[in-house]
């Protein structure tokens, strides 16, 4: 257990946390506005990765893949929200069953279109290889992920906290009925936030495709992580999603490195502890 081990593991955990932030911030936003537990959120991550993969194959452009994946899933998310989920306001069980139904359909469609083989999204040359700092080697791609997450987090925070649109979204999160009363078109806000959440997850899926790969089953693999992040951080809270992501990324990585057989336990046990002390998560309100 050298210092090198701790630093490189902490870095790996941090970069995984950065990826989780992209996934969980969208889930948290969607929950905040619509009170929907979206079990298809992992599917957006996986489908985003697949769409990105196809775009890279056709055009060779990584940037187009990022944008295309996010845009495609924003559209899918909008259809899902407008045509289906909006019919079930306040019906938790119905929403759960419906979103899991979509998750199964997406899983099968992905298998039908892209087959069962795992793929990796090729990343541009400047992001390949490692960077050596003070004798320690860091993957350039992982540094890139952390940077992207910081930029996205900052933009989200600015947009939510400093703009008129952000104020409208916050109003809808706090009290949808009152927001409607003062003339905010809440259904439109819900639609936009849902699209944004799906796009963020898909964006994460394309980025994650560069080092985790794109494969069947990725959807249900990342979903519990996203859930733990927002449970720990608090539903509907952006700072909560940030802190939660980093915490979960680190816990997961050290758990896997130190106690490989109990790695899920080391992730979920602290979550249970936090919940026992603060049932609404670190930053959550009831």
């Amino acid at each position: 257990m050298t210092a090198e081990f701790w630093i490189s593991q902490a870095f790996n955990g941090l970069s995984y946390g950065a990826l989780l932030f992209l996934l969980a911030s969208g889930l948290s936003l969607i929950f905040g506005v619509m009170r929907i537990v979206n079990l298809a959120h992992g599917s957006y991550f996986m489908l985003g990765g697949y769409v990105g993969l196809s775009i890279v194959w056709r055009t060779g452009s990584y940037v187009l893949a990022l944008l295309g994946g996010a845009l495609a899933l924003a559209l899918i998310g909008m259809v899902m929200q407008r045509v289906f989920l909006q019919r079930l306001p306040g019906q938790t069980l119905g929403q759960v069953l419906m979103t899991i139904g979509f998750a199964l359909i997406f899983q099968d469609l992905a298998l039908l279109i892209w087959g069962g083989d795992p793929y990796s999204i090729p990343v541009p040359p400047p992001l390949q290889g490692v960077l050596t700092i003070g004798g320690l080697r860091f993957s350039r791609y992982r540094i890139f992920i952390v940077a992207v997450a910081i930029v996205v987090g900052a933009l989200l925070w600015l947009a939510l906290d400093r703009t008129r649109t952000g104020a409208i979204i916050r109003a809808a999160v706090d009290d949808a009925e009152m927001a409607g009363g003062v003339g905010i078109h809440v259904p439109r806000v819900s639609l936009a936030v849902f699209a944004l959440g799906a796009a963020l997850a898909a964006f994460g899926g394309v980025i994650g495709g560069g080092f985790l790969g794109v494969y069947p089953g990725a959807d249900f693999e990342v979903l519990p992580y996203a859930f733990v992040v927002i449970i720990v951080g608090g539903l509907g809270s952006l700072p909560g999603a940030m802190v939660g992501s980093v915490l979960v990324g680190l816990l997961d990585n050290f758990g896997k490195a130190l106690f490989p057989e109990l790695s899920y336990f080391t992730l979920f046990a602290p979550m249970a502890l936090i919940l026992a002390l603060r049932p609404t998560g670190l930053f959550g309100r009831v």
Binding site: F31, Q91, T92, L93, P224, I230, S263
Partner: protein, 307 residues
């Protein structure tokens, strides 16, 4: 109430009479449906009667199934030991998870049970020295009950499972009709009002949670014997959600509905997968369709407006 007993007893007698004439494959499916029905009923106590949607119900089912798998293959233990240990472990798991989950309300409850269910899945998947990980535990023998009929034959095992279903059904029916069960319904309708009336809401919910876990564990014990194989699939999220679907499809708050829902889903899953590889698509469509067209389930639709 009397009508539901007549329908239930009639259904059980009908399957008893029909079973000897069934070809092996439908009989196996019927056995599967009977075992899964116990799991669905156990969840209905929580979902239908108490109003708590648990997303981790496969955990208790799986813990018991793994107990049977490990004890009967690695330690050659008999039925009674496996049953008792399986039930005790399922109960202990539910008792522990309940302490964490019952504090939470609404969506938080849903997400905590999901995450707790994932803990069990993670252990099943990663604790390879105990659970053999992804490979699962194969070769679980059918139980020796000291009866003249071998449980390796499909028909005696079916009757054995059916007896287990009838026992669980009777016990759960008594439970939901008891003062305790009526209090649960009251909590489902209005927690604050029940609290104002002086009921210990937390304790009632907690006991319902644990009781539900015990019956899920019972189903898990039978499942390990039925399948002869225990793997992380038995504890994964999809299994928990599928159980929710069975209850929702049949009609939450009606034990007969859960049995019916379990039967429909088991047969649908197996028959559709014979004809097409795309059964996940169809299953997904069922999930969505149930919500759009039969939000109160099959039994709910037959009962009309009364509740």
């Amino acid at each position: 109430m009397r009508r539901s007993i007549v329908v239930g007893v009639g259904g059980v007698v009908l399957t008893m009479v029909v079973a000897p004439w069934l070809p092996p494959y439908p009989l196996t499916l019927l056995t599967q449906a009977v075992i899964v029905a116990i799991l669905a009923m156990s969840l209905d106590v929580l979902l239908g009667y108490t109003g708590l949607a648990s997303l981790g119900h496969a955990a208790y089912f799986g813990v018991a199934a793994y107990a049977v798998g490990i004890l009967s293959t690695q330690y050659q233990r008999g039925f009674v030991t496996c049953l008792v240990v399986g039930l005790v472990l399922a109960t202990a798991t539910a008792a522990f998870f309940g302490l964490l989950a019952i504090r939470a309300v609404g969506t938080y409850f849903l997400m905590i049970t999901l995450a707790l269910g994932m803990v069990v899945w993670g252990l099943a998947f990663r604790w390879v020295s105990m659970t053999k990980g992804d490979n699962g535990i194969a070769g679980v023998p059918r139980p020796e009950l000291g009866l003249p009929w071998s449980m390796w034959n499909p028909l005696p095992f079916f009757y054995f499972s059916l007896a287990a279903l009838v026992l669980s059904w009777a016990l759960l029916a008594l439970l939901v009709r008891s003062p305790f069960g009526l209090t649960l319904k009251g909590i489902r309708e209005s927690e604050t009002r029940m609290r104002a009336l002086g009921y210990n809401v937390w304790l009632h919910k907690y006991l319902a949670f644990v009781l539900s876990g015990i019956f899920a564990g019972f189903a898990g014990v039978l499942w390990a014997y039925y399948n002869g194989f225990v793997s992380p699939v038995d504890v994964q999220l999809v299994t928990s959600v599928e159980t929710l679907l069975m209850v929702a499809l049949g009609g939450p708050g009606t034990l007969a509905g859960s049995v019916l829902g379990a039967g429909v889903i088991v047969f649908l899953k197996n028959f559709v997968s014979v004809y097409t590889k795309r059964w996940l698509l169809i299953l997904g469509a069922v999930y969505i369709g149930v919500n759009l067209f039969a939000p109160r389930g099959i039994v709910g639709a037959f009962r009309g407006e009364q509740r």
